[in-house]
Symmetry: C2
Subunit: 368 residues, 2 copies
């Protein structure tokens, strides 16, 4: 997507034909800087320090990390070491393991002399595939926004509420929840986005507001408490969020607070959609509320917050009384009954086992 | 309530018999300091700069402000000026105008030589009345917590979720939403409070956590996004919040985000109670969602946040991209259908016109 007049992906091959460039997301929204990755250790560090984040982008960076390893030394031993080093960065990310296993399997299957070239080719393909998947979500979801626009009479902007960041910064390009928004915006449909700040890590206020602003999409940042009031008063036409894991029955595990917004949408007849690549569907789990474990993270994410002070300097401040006990639940599960539809790269379906299997019939045997 | 071993109110007469002392709430939770008010201008400044806040405490401070005016010069002119100066501090607070009109009416009705003594007596009475009202709410609500404790088998702590600060710091003592919690805790019922941080102004993380901690009530601070997940997983036995205005039909206007918690409570069969003095009931409004105007406040409360930095120094940081548009809706309205009961100083009633009129039959003619 665009930053100013220039189109960016979140990761790309350097002009030298072998190094890899990424946007340093730890500095957003307060500074835009690129980082050049020249070896596997730097790729691993970029993932672990969250210079890059978002499951699809983590996978893409890991794939390029394997290419950087092959560039240096394409021996079995070096590739195995690279796999291990990269995997250790964020051990729970599903796309990370998938990309690493895919790369290792393909590289070890060919003679050493062919590995370097194959590695770069495959990493580029993984990136392109992610872009195509997100574009598919954008096309299918964009139609829903167009319909909402026409339903409103074709004059006023469509108001979309989103939670957290499931935008292009979390993928290679386009995003998942935000792909329909970019698609509609680029097609000339007037659109305005309510951006939940998304405590505790504030990915909405920091990243979603940044990327929408950079691409020129009108938006307003609100606290996570505000969405119910907005929906109650007709100020939201539809909600679109992303998902970290979706059960085979259509339950949606996403950033903490998503469930509260889905309840408000349901209570006010506001459609609630979820954008997702098929890779986030966990076919082994039926009941997501009972079956998906919820990660509890470091309490400092709640007790402290980072921003820039009056001098423009990054600063962390404590918000709670010294020593106060804090709880930090990272995700919640929105039951399928509250979800109007799932927007995937293959189309839009009801949030149900039947709905998902109509789009993914090949999963009929494995789906819980 | 207690801070350490010492019992405090939020406002009291100084040892000299005429000056007034308050807790400087702008410094909480990071520092505990008292402030001495010696004239009406200082009382007005304490209200306008939010050294004191919360409708009942604002009313009490205004009453003592009139006493300070009478101490200095009990002429009609000086008392009229004091009334005007104090009223201008927070023009929308209902209790403020009520307390000022009450004081002015009583003082102007007696000879000048009797006004000073009467002013201090009446201000003290307004404070005592507020304490008695909150104690009543505590007694009636405390029974609900005891019932929840017994319902759980009398072993495990009762988990209560609250939003914002409707504690003793917002009143003269005890609080409204927190009065039942203090009453139950002081009666030996094991209790644990989930404290919503309450963005944008973080009164939960700053004030509720501080006052519960100071009084020794176990609690955990969470982000406003977390309550739905907790209720979904049986980690909340009941919710209690305060209210800024309650309609004659039982709709509750309270800090933004209250509605989202009420939806989650309803979806998970968790009782949702609201603690209120009768003074917050607006008998002229029936439908609170349509009828209660929602204040929009300065966007800086959303875009920026204040805490203490690593050196313990109060610091404000910006959270959003420079120039990002923000929206700041201060309150929302929870429809009566989501409210299990209203806890008033006269007892607990259903959130409905009939329910309220059973406790306040004298309002039958005026209630919308």
């Amino acid at each position: 997507m665009k930053i100013g007049d220039k189109h960016y992906r979140t990761i790309w091959l350097g002009d030298d034909g072998w190094s890899v460039e990424v946007i340093d997301q730890t500095l957003l929204p307060h500074a835009f800087e690129l980082m050049r990755l020249t070896n596997v250790a730097e790729a691993a560090a970029a993932i672990s320090t969250m210079v890059v984040r978002g499951a699809p982008l983590i996978g893409a960076t890991a794939a390029y990390g394997m290419a950087l390893a092959a560039h240096e030394d394409a021996s079995d031993k070096n590739l195995q070491n690279a796999h291990a080093m990269l995997l250790a960065t964020r051990p729970t990310a599903v796309n990370l393991r998938w990309a690493l296993d895919d790369m290792r399997g393909r590289l070890l299957a060919v003679p050493q002399g062919h590995r370097r070239k194959l590695a770069y080719k495959r990493a580029a393909q993984i990136c392109d595939d992610d872009v195509a998947t997100c574009q598919g979500i954008g096309q299918h979801g964009g139609k829903l926004i167009r319909e909402a626009f026409e339903h409103k009479g074709g004059g006023d902007a469509v108001n979309v509420l989103t939670h957290c960041n499931a935008g292009w910064l979390a993928t290679v390009d386009w995003g998942t929840a935000l792909a329909p928004i970019y698609t509609a915006h680029d097609a000339g449909i007037p659109i305005h986005v309510w951006v939940d700040e998304t405590r505790p890590r504030n990915q909405g206020a920091a990243l979603t507001a940044y990327e929408l602003g950079s691409h020129g999409v009108p938006h307003t940042v609100i606290v996570d408490n505000a969405g119910g009031h907005l929906m109650q008063h007709g100020m939201v036409d539809l909600c679109i969020t992303g998902t970290d894991r979706t059960s085979a029955h259509g339950d949606v595990c996403n950033k903490i607070g998503t469930y509260l917004k889905a309840l408000a949408a349901y209570d006010n007849d506001v459609p609630f959609y979820v954008g997702l690549p098929h890779s986030t569907i966990d076919w082994s789990i039926g009941d997501g509320v009972a079956g998906i474990p919820i990660e509890q993270r470091d309490g400092e994410e709640v007790s402290h917050i980072r921003g820039v002070n009056g001098d423009g300097k990054g600063t962390t401040v404590r918000l709670v009384p010294k020593g106060a006990k804090v709880g930090n639940f990272a995700f919640d599960v929105t039951p399928a009954r509250l979800v109007t539809g799932l927007i995937t790269e293959r189309g839009v379906c009801p949030a149900s086992r039947d709905g998902l299997l109509e789009l993914y019939p090949e999963q009929a045997a494995t789906a819980a």
